[in-house]
Subunit: 146 residues, 2 copies
Amino acid sequence: MYSKNRTIDEIRKFNRFYTVNMGFLSSNYFGSDYSIAETRILFEIMTQGICIQSDIVKLLHIDKSYLSRMISRLCKKGLVEKRKSKHDKRAVEIMLTETGKSESEKLIALTNRRIESQITELSSDKCDKLCAALCTVMTILDKEKD
Amino acid sequence: MYSKNRTIDEIRKFNRFYTVNMGFLSSNYFGSDYSIAETRILFEIMTQGICIQSDIVKLLHIDKSYLSRMISRLCKKGLVEKRKSKHDKRAVEIMLTETGKSESEKLIALTNRRIESQITELSSDKCDKLCAALCTVMTILDKEKD
DNA sequence: ATAAAAAGTTGACAAAATCCACTAAATGCA
DNA sequence: TGCATTTAGTGGATTTTGTCAACTTTTTAT
């Protein structure tokens, strides 16, 4: 089918463009003290509020042992707190500490500045078009919609 | 400025969506024997034909020593061939071997199937909209345009 | 002519990620 | 109710990935 193949090519082209453009290939998340994965984990915990590790595993599709270690590390750094779940004694509830919250905020601010520097010269018209396009992509590709 | 901040938020949201959706976070490029980086390198050499390492470094923004080792590895696997450049005696020309070409083709076919499985249920109308949106994003964000 | 820059290689590491086996608790089901 | 299966998490061992700096050789620029 023609449009399918064209779409696949377009997605591959986009992936190539986007991984380089956003710097996902060289993965030191630009100067910040946190890796992409750490950043994502912090962000997810922040938006979830209180959650358990397997929530994050499902959300981010990462290895559970990897996450376990990551969480321990974030605990040691004082950004995350663990406690036994009452409902499920296997599970460990995790949440951000106050330090964790403020660090996450800083981290977000940092990425914001980085992104801002990539779009400084865009007119507000182009910004609107970009937002609309990104939104379209997400809506069309989102699996968990219905 | 309002539209800038909204745009930044939208890009961040998109990044979160896209890294998970495309599986860039758990980086074993889905069953294939090659990592994302290797895949990208093979693809670039294929599209460049004959090139030198620093071309790839510039294209993908990766560390030159990392690439150097990567290339050596791909040579050992028989996918890439090196030879001294005539014009520039510092440089090493690199190109795909026949095996390298066919492996790259297979690799592309594999990613294509993976992507296809993500868009099977899309109508051709949605495909068109998706392509247009991706294209818009690239056009607006592309730095090396002018 | 000579200093600076560019291409690539190598060593030494550090960080990231995976695989596997294991414990303990919860769930399914017959 | 009892037993098998699944789920949540941990820790060991290892591999893969990526970084940094030092060094050689060649080219470029002034």
